[in-house]
């Protein structure tokens, strides 16, 4: 998702995170911390809500519109959940967290940045391509650099 978002704007203030060791029987899975991130784009708005922290304590609250969307399209409250412009919704991860488990965050980041081809980077890039396509349908194919 982050890779896709950077094609439409600038994401800053993000941090490094990981899922709890043993969650769903996976070892630590590196991920992004977008809790304090800001996103600027002339094409789209982005809202990230972290439901709970590592100790299962609630983190972010939803506004009324977000609540209505979740109640309507995600009634079983499956998380992670992605919703794009009333056109697409995705429940769960787009690829198995097992592909990234036990890998240091920096290693995965370097592999992605350098264009290294392995199962994990291919899965991430395929997912980014899919999300980019969804967003492009919402922006009417803008910008061309992302949607061509």
């Amino acid at each position: 998702m982050v890779t896709a978002l950077t094609r439409f704007g600038t994401l800053s203030g993000w941090g490094k995170e990981h899922h709890n060791d043993g969650y769903q029987n996976f070892k630590e899975v590196p991920t992004w911390d977008l809790h304090n991130a800001t996103y600027n784009s002339p094409y789209i708005q982005f809202s990230d809500k972290e439901v709970q922290n590592h100790d299962f304590q609630p983190l972010d609250k939803f506004d009324a519109d977000e609540q209505a969307i979740i109640d309507k399209y995600n009634p079983q409250a499956k998380w992670p959940w992605l919703y794009i412009n009333g056109q697409y919704a995705q429940s769960g991860s787009g690829y198995s967290p097992g592909l990234l488990q036990a890998q240091p965050w920096d290693d995965v980041y370097k592999q992605l940045s350098s264009g290294t081809q392995n199962e994990a980077t291919q899965a991430i890039n395929d997912e980014a391509k899919l999300i980019t396509t969804y967003i492009c349908r919402s922006t009417g194919g803008q910008p061309e650099s992302a949607c061509k």
């Binding site: 029987n25 709970q52 009634p75 079983q76 409250a77």
Partner: protein, 167 residues
């Protein structure tokens, strides 16, 4: 054991256990399909253990319930607290306290997604305790229903007859 003296009882137990396991897997969202890697069973070790234990106990409870119901019908009037409380404990353990099942059930009865997010967070936090309560309630249920079956099947004390004809 009286409830397991017929082959169909084992069939009911196996079908019940497998059905409960399937329900828990579906409800817990443990079975995931990923385009790249195919089907995965994504559950933590404690979730796997809970699933196996709850499904096995449910499988053991089912033939007992069936036997208790059929025997109770045959001997109407031989009732006990266990006859009523056993199934009640069984149902309560699966509906209230099984953290794997609760989100799907609550969604089914109309809880909204955002409410469920908070419920899920609480369930995660209390999952160990709730699972233990679930298992304890299932065990209590098994004990109570077993007592009912035993009470219904106990032979009445034979009356002594003298065989003397009245003169």
């Amino acid at each position: 054991m009286i409830a397991f003296d017929r082959p169909w009882a084992y069939a009911i137990a196996v079908v019940g256990a497998l059905s409960m396991a399937a329900l828990l897997v579906w409800s817990g969202g443990f079975l995931q399909y990923y385009a790249r890697t195919g089907w995965e069973f994504d559950a933590s070790l404690s979730e796997r253990l809970s699933l196996v234990v709850v499904a096995t106990l449910f499988g053991a409870l089912l033939p007992l319930e069936v036997t208790a119901l059929s025997k109770a019908r045959a001997a109407a009037g031989v009732g006990s607290a266990g006859g009523v409380l056993g199934p009640v404990f069984g149902i309560v353990s699966m509906s209230c306290c099984a953290p794997l099942l609760a989100p799907a059930l609550l969604s089914f009865v109309g809880f909204s997604g955002t409410t469920l997010l908070n419920v899920n967070a609480t369930l995660h936090e209390l999952s160990t305790l709730l699972t233990l309560v679930s298992i304890a309630l299932l065990l209590v249920s098994i004990v109570l229903v077993s007592r009912t079956v035993t009470a219904v099947c106990a032979l009445p004390t034979p009356r002594r007859t003298t065989g003397q004809a009245a003169h």
